[in-house]
């Protein structure tokens, strides 16, 4: 119910002009064409094969004295959802608090999950959701971490100067945690009510300099109603900028307990957990301010027992190579296009060529 509270508060603030309200929004439409017979499908709320959309609207009300309220609603593959709904108090540069429905800072990409904030038409594989090939439980069952990583809880965060140019940012949080049924279910993880007693926790630290940043993230908790199945995730990320060229790389991993009492495993259960590792390396070159060329290589590697529904083998791997272009028509409007080559090993899927064309509007 908290979401209606926060929403009503911000709307009241907006209509009363009592506070300074900043509105921002975005909309993205993406069409993908997959080569070969029987292409894997993705969820399309529009009912058109290969076509997805995402719209989001955000309001930030600044109340004064460093207090603000943020609400962001978005609609996409899963209908209308509240992506953010939190209050925030900026106390000191090194100590600040936000509470409510948060976007957790896990990995570098998560902060940039809005389509106006990244240059490719698709998300990197560790963060891939329904736009991934073979994303279902019969395949790889999604990436490592959802983007956005939405959860309810409290976060403290801040920034410490280490020298004139170098600073250390941190964030630590206690939240409801991911939810699932013999492996994590991202859609159910976004429900408002918790399903178990143990909260989840996590944090992120980033060391930043003039044109570089290195970060580390971790989180963990239990994801089943009985509090017996654990997950643990960690990630490392790197950002480098050389004038118009930006290089980013991330490696993320998740260890997830499986239910040893479940039936239907294709292999004998020795260790009842699996490890999934995901990574990407990406170069963005702004050839001219209006046009960015992107080269990206990403992948997802599974180790250990596959879930019962899955047809992949224990060491299955998916790799993708991408060339993308993003053209900014003006400050509000951009066109994204790419070509992706998907290859798989140790899974009964065939390599695919994929092309995407997307339009992004932001204001």
């Amino acid at each position: 119910m908290t979401r209606w509270w926060v929403g009503a508060l911000v709307l009241a603030a907006a209509s009363a002009h009592a506070f300074d309200v900043t509105a921002a929004g975005s909309a993205a439409v993406d069409y993908r064409y997959v080569s070969g017979p029987n292409p894997p499908e993705n969820p399309s709320t529009l009912g058109i094969t290969g076509l997805t959309y995402e719209v989001a609207q955000k309001l930030v009300a600044e109340v004064g004295h460093g207090v603000s309220f943020t609400v962001k609603a978005c609609a996409g593959c899963h209908g209308l959802e509240v992506d953010q709904g939190f209050g925030e108090v900026r106390v000191k540069r090194f100590f600040n608090v936000r509470a409510g429905r948060l976007n957790l800072p896990f990995g570098e990409f998560n902060l940039r999950h809005d389509p106006t904030n990244f240059t490719t038409p698709s998300k990197p594989l560790p963060y891939a959701m329904g736009d991934m090939l073979w994303y279902g439980r019969e395949g790889f069952n999604l990436g490592i971490v959802p983007a956005p990583f939405v959860d309810n809880g409290v976060e403290v965060y801040g920034s410490l100067s280490l020298s004139k140019k170098v600073q250390l940012d941190y964030s630590a949080y206690v939240v409801k945690g991911l939810v699932g049924d013999n492996d994590i279910d991202w859609a159910r993880s976004r429900n408002y009510l918790d399903i178990n007693r143990t909260p989840a926790g996590g944090g992120r630290v980033v060391l930043t300099g003039e044109d570089w940043a290195v970060g580390a993230s971790f989180t963990g908790g239990t994801y089943d109603p009985k509090d017996t199945l654990h997950y643990l995730m960690g990630g490392l990320d790197l950002y480098l900028r050389f004038g118009p060229v930006v290089f980013r790389a991330e490696g993320l991993a998740r260890r997830t307990d499986l239910d040893p009492t479940a039936t239907g495993y294709a292999y004998q259960v020795i260790d009842s957990w699996f490890l999934k590792v995901g990574w990407y390396g990406q170069v963005d070159w702004a050839i001219i301010p209006q046009l960015t060329l992107v080269l990206r290589s990403d992948g997802l590697q599974h180790f250990g027992l596959p879930i019962p529904e899955s047809s992949i083998q224990p060491n299955a791997r998916v790799l993708r190579q991408t060339v993308a272009l993003m053209g900014r028509v003006n400050e509000n409007f951009a066109i994204k296009a790419d070509y992706e080559l998907w290859t798989v090993t140790d899974a009964p899927f065939t390599a695919r060529h994929l092309a995407r064309l997307g339009v992004v509007v932001g204001y």
Binding site: D20, T22, A24, V60, E62, G66, S68, E88, R90, R93, N96, P105, E108, L111, R112, T116, N117, F118, T119, Y157, G158, S159, S161, K164, K165, Q167, D169, Y170, S171, R204, V206, T208, G209, D211, A213, G215, Y239, R241, V246, P289, T292, M326, R328, N330, E331, N332, A334, V360, G362, Y363
Partner: protein
């Protein structure tokens, strides 16, 4: 005509053209920015109005440069207003035998030609900033701030819609503060000090 504009464009100092492209063609096309003719004071007011839409993109010094570029390089100027309808709308000449009645009645002795929007901010000074009082330190601050905004904001904003949002001093400051505290923003105390000084000069 096109050739003339092209020739003049090429003859202009390269950084003025670049500034025009980067700043005036940031939100709209050439048709909008170059499809109008105004007198010089009117250009100053149009550019000032545009500057207030995106003060972090178009600094006060830019406004002077860009006004000069529109009037002297692109020569998108009207001769000083005379009470004839032909001068009011030179791009769509009115047949002399049948001038529209209301256009004839419009007094054209003021600054405003027919196609200048009426919603210019009333608080605008009649003579917008002039660069005679500027120092090298001001220019340095402008350059430093512009480079900072580009480097820091583009780390996360691929679309560059940041400029249109930072349209008042208070909002710009609180937004910068919120963005700075995004984990990993890389915006330092020094950066913020530069941006604050720059913002104070822009509003």
């Amino acid at each position: 005509m096109l050739a003339l504009v092209l020739a003049l464009t090429l003859a202009a100092p390269p950084n003025a053209r670049l500034a025009w492209e980067r700043k005036c063609l940031y939100c709209h096309s050439e048709e909008v920015a170059e499809g109008h003719r105004y007198t010089e004071p009117q250009w100053r007011r149009v550019v000032e109005k545009m500057r207030l839409k995106a003060p972090l993109l178009i600094s006060k010094a830019d406004a002077v440069l860009l006004t000069r570029y529109a009037t002297q390089t692109l020569k998108l100027v009207l001769p000083p207003a005379r009470p004839t309808p032909m001068v009011v709308a030179p791009l769509k000449p009115v047949p002399v035998d049948k001038p529209p009645a209301d256009e004839l009645k419009t007094p054209v002795m003021t600054d405003l030609p027919a196609d200048l929007p009426a919603d210019l901010p009333p608080e605008l000074p009649p003579t917008p900033p002039d660069d005679s009082l500027r120092t090298n330190a001001d220019d340095e601050l402008d350059q430093q701030a512009t480079a900072l905004i580009q480097a820091r904001c583009s780390k996360c904003h691929a679309l560059g819609r940041v400029y249109g949002r930072l349209d008042t001093y208070e909002r710009s400051l609180t937004t910068l503060e919120r963005m700075r505290l995004k984990t990993g923003s890389g915006i330092t105390d020094d950066d913020l000090a530069v941006l604050e000084r720059y913002l104070r000069a822009q509003f």
